[in-house]
C-alpha cells in the first residue's frame, strides 16, 4: 500500500511538472477555425522560433473562458474572432492595451483607440445558397434580406446560434443596421426569418457543409467559410443583399496578466503586419487583409465587387451585445 501511495504522489508531481513545462510556449485561444489559424501559427514559429499552443473555441465560448480565468489567466493572446467579441471583452477588463508597429497605419475601424485590440483581417458576411436547391425551386440567389423570407426556404436555412457564435452576433447587428437600429423592427424581421431556419448551429461555419450537401438550402456565413466550402467542390452560390450586409473586423488582443507577455506581443506584431496577412492568399484563407499595404487576393476582390458592405460599429455592438443576445434567446429562438 505504501509503495502505491508513493507512486501516486510521484505521478501527481509529474503531472504538475508536465503542465508547467508546456506553459513555457505561447498559449492562445483561437476563434478562427483550426485550418485557418494553424498555418498562420506555423509561419509565426518559422519566423520567431516561438511555438504556439492553441485551442479553438467559438467566440462566445472563448470570451466566457477568458472571463472565467481572469484571476489566473491560462493564455496570453486571444486570436481572431469578430470585433464585437473583443468590444465585450473590454467591458470585462480582460485585455492589456498594446500598440504594435502597424498601429499607426491601420484605419480607425481596425483598431481600438487605446490598443485594447487591433484588427488582423476583415470578414464580410454573405448569403450562401445551394446551387441545386436554387435550380430546383427556380430561384435566383437571394439579393435582399427579404428574399430569405421566401416560403421556398421554409425550414431550410442554417445559421449560427447567438449564444456561442460571433458570426451570429455580427449577423444580428447587420440586421439592426439595415433597420436603422430600430430594434423592434429588426426583431420582427428576425422572428420572421426564424420560420425558415432549420437549425441554429454552435459554430459560425456549422451550416456550410449541410448547405454544400443540399441538406440545408442556405444560410448567412462569413465569406471566409463560404469560399472555403466552394473551394472544397460543393455546389454553392455566394450572394449579397442589396440593403447591405455587415463586415466584422477580425481582431487580436493581449490578455491582462499574460504569463508570456513578450512572446504574446511578438505574435500581435506578426499578425497585424503584412508578414502574416500577405500569407492569406497563399493558404487560400479568404479573409480581407486589414493592413493597407497588403492587396486583397484578386479572386476574392472579384467576389466582393459591387457588394454593399458596411462595418459593424464595435462600440455600439460591444455596449449592447449582452442585451441583444438575451433578447434574441428570449424572443427569436422560441418563435415557431
Amino acid at each position: 500500500m505504501r509503495s502505491l501511495r508513493c507512486a501516486v504522489l510521484v505521478m501527481i508531481a509529474w503531472l504538475g511538472g508536465f503542465a508547467a513545462a508546456r506553459a513555457a510556449d505561447l498559449n492562445v485561444y483561437t476563434i478562427w477555425p483550426e485550418n485557418y489559424a494553424r498555418p498562420m501559427f506555423q509561419e509565426f514559429e518559422k519566423q520567431t522560433g516561438i511555438k504556439v499552443n492553441f485551442l479553438r473555441f467559438s467566440s462566445g465560448e472563448a470570451l466566457a473562458r477568458v472571463i472565467a480565468e481572469k484571476n489566473n489567466p491560462r493564455i496570453d493572446v486571444l486570436f481572431g474572432g469578430p470585433v464585437e467579441t473583443f468590444a465585450a471583452g473590454i467591458k470585462e477588463g480582460i485585455f492589456e492595451p498594446y500598440k504594435s508597429p502597424s498601429f499607426a497605419k491601420l484605419a480607425a475601424r481596425f483598431k481600438q483607440a487605446d490598443g485594447q485590440w487591433m484588427a488582423i483581417a476583415d470578414d464580410p458576411l454573405v448569403f450562401m445558397t445551394n446551387g441545386a436547391f436554387l435550380k430546383a425551386n427556380n430561384l435566383k440567389p437571394p439579393a435582399s434580406w427579404d428574399d430569405l423570407l421566401d416560403p421556398a426556404y421554409k425550414n431550410g436555412l442554417q445559421m449560427a446560434d447567438a449564444r456561442t457564435s460571433g458570426t451570429a452576433v455580427t449577423r444580428i447587428f447587420s440586421v439592426l443596421e439595415v433597420f436603422g437600429r430600430d430594434e423592434d423592427k429588426a426583431f420582427a424581421y428576425l422572428k420572421r426569418l426564424r420560420q425558415n431556419v432549420q437549425v441554429y448551429t454552435k459554430s459560425g461555419g456549422g451550416g456550410t457543409l449541410p448547405t454544400g450537401l443540399g441538406q440545408a438550402a442556405g444560410g448567412i456565413f462569413f465569406i471566409v467559410d463560404a469560399l472555403e466550402t466552394k473551394a472544397k467542390g460543393y455546389d454553392v452560390v455566394v450572394s449579397f443583399p442589396k440593403e447591405g450586409i455587415g463586415t466584422s473586423a477580425e481582431a487580436i488582443a493581449l490578455i491582462k496578466g499574460a504569463k508570456n507577455r513578450e512572446a504574446g506581443k511578438k505574435l500581435i506584431d506578426f499578425a497585424t503586419s503584412p508578414a502574416m496577412q500577405a500569407k492569406f492568399a497563399e493558404y487560400k484563407v479568404n479573409f480581407v487583409p486589414a493592413h493597407p499595404d497588403v492587396k486583397t487576393d484578386p479572386a476574392l476582390a472579384e467576389v466582393l465587387k459591387g457588394a454593399r458592405i458596411f462595418p459593424i460599429d464595435d462600440e455600439y455592438a460591444g455596449a449592447n451585445r449582452r442585451r441583444i443576445v438575451d433578447r434574441w434567446v428570449k424572443e427569436v429562438l422560441p418563435a415557431q
Binding site: L63, I67, I75, R163, K202, G212, L213, Q215
Partner: protein, 566 residues
Amino acid sequence: MARARSPSWRGIAGDPALLGAVAAIWCLLLLLVLFPLAHLLERAFVDEGRPTLAPLLDSLADPGHRAAFVNSLILAASVGVLGTAVGFLFALAAVRAGLGRRWLTVLDAAVLLPLVSPPFTTSISIIFSFGPRGLISHHLLGLTGVSAYGFWSTAIAETLTYFPIAYLTLRPILAAIDPNLEEMAFSLGGSRWRTFRTVTLPLCVPGFANAFLLLFAASLADFATPLILAGNAFPVLPTQAYLQITGLFDFKGGAVLSLLLLVPAVMVFLLQRHWVGRRTYVTVTGKVGQRSRSQAIAPWMQVVLVAACVAVATIIVYFYALLLVASLVAAFGADYSFTWRHYAVIFTEGLPAIRDTLIIAALGMPLGGLYGVLVGYLIARRDFPGRRAMELVAMINYALPGTIVGIAYLIAFNDPPIALTGGALLIVACYVFRYSPTGIRATVALLQQIDRSIEEASASLGAASGETFRRVTLPLIAPAFFAGLGVVFIRSMTAISATIFLVSISWTLITVRILENMTEMALGPAAAFSVFVIVVVFVVVAGLSAVLARLRTPTAGAAARSFLGG
C-alpha cells in the same frame, strides 16, 4: 449479508490499515464528490450570503427552460422504452432463436460498436443519411422536405447508442430462465404466445425495469446527441445548461438548469437500487442445467426475430461504414476521391489531443481499478462507522448526469484555494469518481459469492488486515479490478458530457476535438478521430477480455459483462 460484528469505533481504531484506507477514501470523496456538489448548490441557491430560491423560480418561469425539462423527460422515457424493446429483441434472438456461434459473434460485434464509440458517431451518420438531401431519405427513398433535426432523430440516435446496455442487462436474465420451465407450460397445453406472455415475460420484469432505468438515466445525461441532432425545436436540459455556461458565461443559470436534472436522476437511481438490489447477481450462478433446445418460440417467429435483429445490426454497421468512408474521402458529398489526409491530420495536428487522451486514460485506468476494488472491498467486507454513507457518496457522481458533475468541478476548482482546472488531474479525478462505481459494484458482487471463511482463515493465521487484503482477497477479486479498469478506460476515451467543461490549453481530449470538428463541419478529421477511438477501444477491450478469460475465476464472465454494461 450476514455481519458478524456491529460497526464499532474500537474495531477501526485497532486496525491502522483499515483506518488509513477509510480516512483516505473519505478525504477523496469529500474533496472530489461532496465539495464540488456543495459549491454547485451554493451557486444556485445562495445570493450574497443569503439563501434564495429566486434563480430556481426564474428558471422555472422561463418557458424555454420548462420546455427543456419536459423534453428531457419525454426523450429519456422514449429512449428507455425503445431501447429496452430493441435490447430485448436482441437478447431473445441471442438466447432463444437457436443461432450458431458465428452468428452470435456477428450480432455481439454489431452491438458492441455503439458501446465503444465516441458519442457523435451515430449523430454524424444520421445527419448525412436523413434530411432534405439525405443519402437514405432522398437518394434512396426519394423523399423531400425531411428534417434530420428534432425529437425523432435524437430518440433514434440515442436508442441505437444505448440499447446495448439493455441487451447486456436482459440477456443473462433470459439465459437464466430454464427452457424446461417454458417447456412445461408448453406441454401443459399453453400456446406458445401464452407461455411467452405468462412465463417468460413476467420472469423478465425486473430486467425490464433495470434496463429501462439505465437507459432513462443514460439519455437524461446525454449531451452530445441532442447538441447535434435536437435542433432548436426540441431543446433539452444538458445542452441548454452547456450553452448557458459556455456561451453566455451564466454560471448561476447553468447551475440551476443542471440541478433541474438532479431530481429525475436521483429518482431513477433510487428506483434502480430498489428494483435491482435484490435481483441482479442471482442470475450469474451459471446454473442452467442441460441446454435443452428451446421450443418456446415458433420456427417462423425465430426467423422474424433474427431478421429484425439483422435489420438493426445492418443499420448500425451502415452508420459506421459511412463514418469510415467519410474518414477516407477528400470531401464527403462532393469529392469521393480516396485520401489518407484526414488521418495524417489527426496524427500531426491532432496528436496533442490523442496524446493527452491516452495519458489521461492510462492514468485513470489503474487508479479507477484500484479505487473501485478498495471501496468495494471496504463496503462488502469491513465494518466501520459510516459504511453505508460511504457506499452512497461513492455512487453520487455516477448517478448524476455528466453535465452536473462537469459544471460542479468547474465552479469548485476554478479559483483558489483549490485551483485545479486546466490540469490533467481534475480530468482523471472526474473519470475515476464517475466511472469506478461499476468496479465497486462488480467487487461487491464478487465478494458476495466468495466465502468469508477464506479471509478469516488468513486473519486467524495472524495476517494483518492489509496483508489479508493483498494476498487473499485481491487475487480473488482481480476480475472486478479488470472490469473497473475497462470501464474507466472506455469512458476516458469516449465520454464528453462532464469533461467538456474541464479541457484546457494544456490538456484536451479527442472527444472534444471531434465535437469541435463536427461543429465546424470538418467532417473528415471528425470521422478519422472516431475511427481511431473505436479501434483503440476495441483493441484494449479485446486485451482485457483475454486477461479475464485467463483468470478462470468462476465470476470472471460476469465481470466481463459488467464492464461493458456500466
